[in-house]
Symmetry: C2
Subunit: 536 residues, 2 copies
């Protein structure tokens, strides 16, 4: 229902699909860099190759203009963008597709759709733009429902109101990153929340999944940018007050932030925005040892200086993304400000890096290495499609840990993942690490791995690796996710991480807001029959 | 059960009680400054003057070493430190006292006490050091219970573990401010959370009430300083993971932060600590107009500079506290750092103030006016006792609002309070305002008022004023509390402010954690019979 069509099976628009030659080129580069071989190229699926199950519900007349059951819409709302999502899409398997896809234009529309779902006893999957890499939007919902309606929020995409004085804006939840930035630009304002999925994810999705953004320190998650929320639940609508801060009991917004569509559909938010930066600087610091880079970042964060960017990338990941020759680890530092030069802050930060053996070019101008890293970062999800088409497994997982445990933690997780790849595929894989965000008390290691697959066994192989890595994360004291969310894929480990009684309290809250348990069943709260929904 | 005895009826230790002469001196100063007359002096109560109701439960043998029923302990745990608490204490009225006061030394002790409360069907009031000014610890609990046990956490007061690398410490919830700072000092660390109650409140109390601290920006509430929590509930124990950041569903800690003893007893926390500051600067900026001062603060906060201190005090409040002659409003600015000089930040901040007409001494050294304000701030709760003893009503209430609404909001609240004082007392009162904390999108106005009372009618007069002020706050879009908490006194307005369905979800969560509803009944969640507990 949008003008430019998104791929129904992967990242980005149809016209951004890699050609066979491009895909093979990317795979060849990775093979050369890692020793991991390709398999035969498989072309991405086309819609006429897909056989969808017959829809189990029909659209009532009064909702005809809001709901679609065409093949493209149903197929395009079957998966997120995880590795197993790609594999199943390349296998032309879309059997878990929704029965209908609704495109509401207002909270009132959503209420009507929820009433319909109640009448038909269907599950409801809230959907932003489908960038979930954790099974957050796939209709795997157990056997309690007679069908599934996916609610795609993208028709609710306007910046409704801008408060230039308080620097806040009221924005509909279905606004994609570029849409909301376009809406803010005439006021000279910006949200500056740039997750990797920025182009293909929505404000509501960010809030529902506690998205991690552009700011590597301080405002790491969308959480702190939320001033108030409007949410539609099956039990009614929840609207919180616009307040800069409050101490009136547990925060109502903090229950909805991270609720992953299991408690309600966020319809709009007042978010805290900023003036567009006028001063920007970046610097790349080179380190021989990972430990020294971590110590430098830790020391910097503990001084009370808050760089906009403060990201560690290990040497192997730098090499693989073509940013350097792999002879050193990097710390990417950035400062930006709308009101004053950032030179003195950059100088302090660089001095701190130098104290720990970091090397850099003294000229604190915008560093080209930082630009090429940014380029590689944005392109990564597109390049991934080329790897998968050529049978190379590529996946990422992320976590967080306090500084005191970082060294052992990193070693254990890397080793567990390498061992699991070897066991599952019979060949050594390739595991790299960066830190996406940094805190005074810790950081968020983000692992990327590549592995060789055996055609037809990709899902089994991936499941074994994902399970081993996730087990290791939880055993070593980390979180199952720092900003990718829980979805269905992480439920097994989320339940281990989360205090049991908190889980029960959350389930009790869900029962009040979503009495029939229709909203994103199996996510955050286990199904009523206790059946676990986890890895596909 | 502590060595130095706290007043059972007011702020501080017994030996800090004002003499009649001191009390009259303070009242005379306020009378002279405001035109509000004193009544006859009433001496503070003495324990032998108090007649307590007979305890409705007896202590089982196995708990004898943990529980007290002596008059001092029961009287000292009857009230917090609100105006109506003082009035009733001065009236020698302690009829709502608990039946027993328990002093656990461990989570295991708490579990035993909860088992006892279950057997006896009593309510349980979690108690830090009783600094609540909102009826948070008074056993007003309706008719569902056969008695009340107050659990005083102050025997659990140790710093258990310090992680110097991640800058975090594991501290028992009953530690008073000075105790936890003493425990951190040998490591060169500090929490630097200094609510006005610092000396007489506990870490657990701060967390349970979303306390507002020393930092006027950024880390305004204790919330952000909490890394993980251990909580005992009637249904079991909840321990969250130590994580610098996480995106795994709604935060378990954020449900407990601000739970005001209604969901569980926080037993310990890992908190984020800091190196002790080496560089400190303060500056007092003078403004003719409140609007200009607000604009200056707003602009400063929106630049991404985070002063440690950034507080507005209006001219009348400055005059009354003896800090200046009342001819100007003040903004108190402060910067501090453990690692680098703060001169350049102070200079930027002062320039921003000057842009809005603020005047200051160019020498950015530690300003004496700031010191005398700090002195007045710390002494205020002690001085208040002198006013109340002489029949002058003195109370404060606080809120928050976005910048766009501030001017009208301030005007409406001040007017509503002044009108209510006039109506309730027949004489003009005196209402002043400061902003305790500042955010990019708003600030937290904090009102102080004085009023003349008619002996024997103080509670009625206060109730009328408090009701009018609270009604105005909620009507004008503010929060009923920015950092004083909800307690019993604010329940009427909290229920208006809070989205109804969030309240129901919270009640459902409470039912899971506290099935019999024993914990701090009437706070955050209304009593089962729907009876409202609000102003005394």
């Amino acid at each position: 229902m949008t003008e430019k069509k998104l791929k129904f099976w992967g990242w980005g628009y149809d016209d951004q699909t890699l050609t066979e030659v491009e895909a093979k080129g990317i795979a060849a580069h990775i093979s050369k860099s890692t020793g991991i071989d390709s398999n035969d190229y498989i072309a991405p699926p086309q819609i006429h190759e897909i056989c969808l199950p017959k829809a189990k519900i029909s659209i009532p007349n009064e909702l005809k203009n809001l709901v679609s059951q065409n093949d493209y819409d149903r197929a395009a709302h079957t998966y997120g963008k995880s590795y197993p999502d790609y594999i199943r899409a390349f296998n032309r398997n879309f059997e878990s597709c929704p029965d209908a896809v609704a495109f509401p234009t207002s909270a009132e529309d959503i209420i009507k759709i929820l009433e319909w779902s109640d009448k038909e006893n269907t599950a409801v999957i809230p959907y932003g733009c489908g960038s979930s890499v954790v099974g957050g939007v796939e209709p795997r919902i157990g056997n309690n429902f007679s069908g599934v309606i996916t609610i795609d929020m993208r028709r609710m995409n306007r910046v409704i109101e801008v408060d230039k004085i308080s620097k806040a804006a009221r924005i509909q939840a279905g606004a994609l990153g570029p849409q909301l930035e376009d809406g803010l630009r005439p006021s000279g304002l910006t949200l500056r929340h740039f997750p990797q999925s920025f182009e293909f994810s929505t404000l509501g999705g960010w809030i529902a999944t506690r998205s991690g953004g552009h700011f590597a320190t301080l405002y790491t998650h969308i959480d702190e940018l939320v001033e108030s929320l409007s949410t539609v639940t099956p039990a009614g609508t929840i609207v919180s007050r616009r307040l800069p801060g409050s101490g009136a009991g547990p925060s109502p917004d903090r229950l909805m932030i991270g609720s992953e569509g299991a408690l309600g559909l966020i319809t709009e938010a007042w978010v805290r925005v900023h003036e567009r930066p006028k001063y920007r600087q970046s610097s790349v610091i080179r380190f021989k040892e990972m430990q020294a880079a971590g110590d430098a970042l830790r020391t910097l964060l503990q001084t009370g200086i808050w760089p906009t960017n403060a990201r560690f990338v290990d040497s192997e990941e730098s090499r693989l993304s073509g940013v350097n020759d792999g002879s050193y680890h990097m710390v990417l530092l950035g400062f930006e400000s709308a009101s004053q030069p950032t030179d003195s802050l950059m100088k302090l930060a660089q001095e701190c890096m130098a104290d720990h053996g970091g090397q850099f070019n003294a000229a604190a101008e915008r560093d080209k290495t930082a630009d090429s890293w940014r380029e590689a970062f944005i392109k990564a999800p597109f390049r991934r499609e080329g790897l998968i088409a050529n049978g190379i497994m590529h996946d990422t997982f992320e976590t967080s840990i306090t500084w005191d445990r970082l060294a052992i933690f990193h070693k254990e997780i890397k080793l567990a993942t390498e061992n699991a790849i070897l066991k599952a595929t019979g060949k050594p894989g390739h595991v790299t690490c960066r830190f996406t965000h940094a805190y005074p008390d810790g950081t968020s290691p983000y692992f990327t791995f590549h592995a060789q697959t055996k055609p037809g066994h990709e899902l089994d192989q991936w499941r074994a690796i994902k399970t081993a890595a996730s087990d290791a994360l939880i055993k070593a004291g980390g979180t199952i996710t720092h900003h990718h969310a829980v979805g269905r894929d992480h439920m097994t480990w989320y339940e281990k991480q989360r205090p049991r009684l908190f889980g029960e309290a959350l389930a009790a809250a869900k029962t009040k807001l979503d009495p029939a348990g229709r909203l994103n069943p199996g996510v955050l709260v286990p199904l009523e029959n206790g059946r676990e929904i986890s890895l596909p």
